[in-house]
Each structure stands twice: as C-alpha cells, then as structure tokens.
C-alpha cells in the first residue's frame, strides 16, 4: 500500500516570501503521479500542480513549482512570492498510473499554511 507523509502540520510566512512544503511517500510502483492540492478556508479543494513520475523535469505552474526526487521519494512544493490568497491547507497526494479504472488518490495529512501581511 502507498503512504504519503507531510511532516509539517503548520507553517507561517510573510507575504512575498518563498515557502517550501515537504512531502515524502512510499511506494513500490515505478509509474505514478504526485499532486499538490490546495484547500482554502472555503473548503473546496483544487489541484495546484501535478508531477508524472516518469518525467525528470520538475513541474511548474506560475509561482508554484515542485522538487521531485524520485530516488528519495520526496516531493516538495515551493511557493514563490507568496500571497495572502495562498493561505490554505495543502495536501500532497499520490496516484498509481492507470490506463483504466478509477483514479484513486492517497492523501497526506496536510500542511496548514498561513501567509501573514
């Protein structure tokens, strides 16, 4: 079974700073996907960024980027130039690669990030 671990329950930074959230995972799969989801105080979760394990290049989405270390099974999220709207719970998640069938995600415990003005 796959497990996802986020060791930072809470983090807090000043607006415009850069912050990195950590995530480690355990799997015997060779092909899989990793995700960071954001859950703002309104509670509706949205996808922030996705990384495919077979791609060596780290994914980026505007101010969000990841550091994917496959051998170390590490997947951190970097938020540059943080904004007040980035305040949210962030979840790291894992999904086995599948060509058919349900896409079942395994989530970490979450990191509560607060951006202070």
């Amino acid at each position: 079974a796959q497990t996802v671990t986020q060791s930072q329950p809470e983090m807090s930074v000043q607006e415009a700073e850069t912050v990195t959230l950590s995530c480690t995972y355990d799997t015997s799969e060779s092909n899989y996907y990793l995700f960071w989801y954001k859950q703002p105080p309104s509670r509706q979760m949205i996808l922030v960024i996705r990384q495919e394990a077979y791609k060596q290049q780290n994914a980026t989405e505007n101010r969000f980027s990841v550091n994917f270390q496959k051998a170390a099974k590490s997947f951190s999220l970097k938020i540059s130039d943080s904004q007040l709207g980035d305040t949210a719970m962030y979840f790291c998640a894992f999904m086995k690669h599948t060509n058919q069938g349900a896409q079942k995600l395994v989530f970490g415990q979450g990191t509560r990030l607060t951006i202070n003005p």
């Binding site: 996802v4 309104s42 509670r43 349900a102 995600l105």
Partner: protein, 113 residues
Amino acid sequence: NAGVTQTPKFRILKIGQSMTLQCAQDMNHNYMYWYRQDPGMGLKLIYYSVGAGITDKGEVPNGYNVSRSTTEDFPLRLELAAPSQTSVYFCASTKPGQLGELFFGEGSRLTVL
C-alpha cells in the same frame, strides 16, 4: 457552473440515527468518490464508483453504503451513526484522462453526538 454539489453542508445526528449525504455533479464525469477528512488527518477514501451501477469499497467503508443509479448522483448512506463518524465528508468526481485531477464539492460537516 455548478460542478460538484453536496447537501447538507452541516448536520448533527444522534447515535444510532441514519442519514444520507447527497452528491451530484453536472460535468458528466464517470468517476465519483466519497472521502472523509478527520481533524489533522488526510482524506480517506470511503467508496468510489466508475459508472452508473458500479461501486466499490475504498479504504474505510465500514458503516457506510453507496449507490450509483445515475451518472450524476452518488449518495452516501450512514446507517446507525456512531461518534467515530464525526468528520467532514467530501464528494469528488473526475473522468478518464484527467490524470488525477479530482473536482471536489464543498464538503459536509457531520457531527454525531
């Protein structure tokens, strides 16, 4: 766009009562999911469905039942509610090819006293 709609948003139950959490999506997604989120924990998969008439257990199915009679709806039934079922419940949906991008509802906060 409505997306994924969950009702009710809040509910208090007494031990032993039953209730149904409703979930509907208007995106014609094949796959639907129910997760629960306990304080300080990640989301745990309760049940999922790959299409109308097809459901399967997730990681924590005990105490719950689901049905999927239409593509749009995926209700979650709690029978004989217990305090351990106090949680926030999320419904989500997606379709083949979305590569793990799930679309979530706003959640239903359930308290069992």
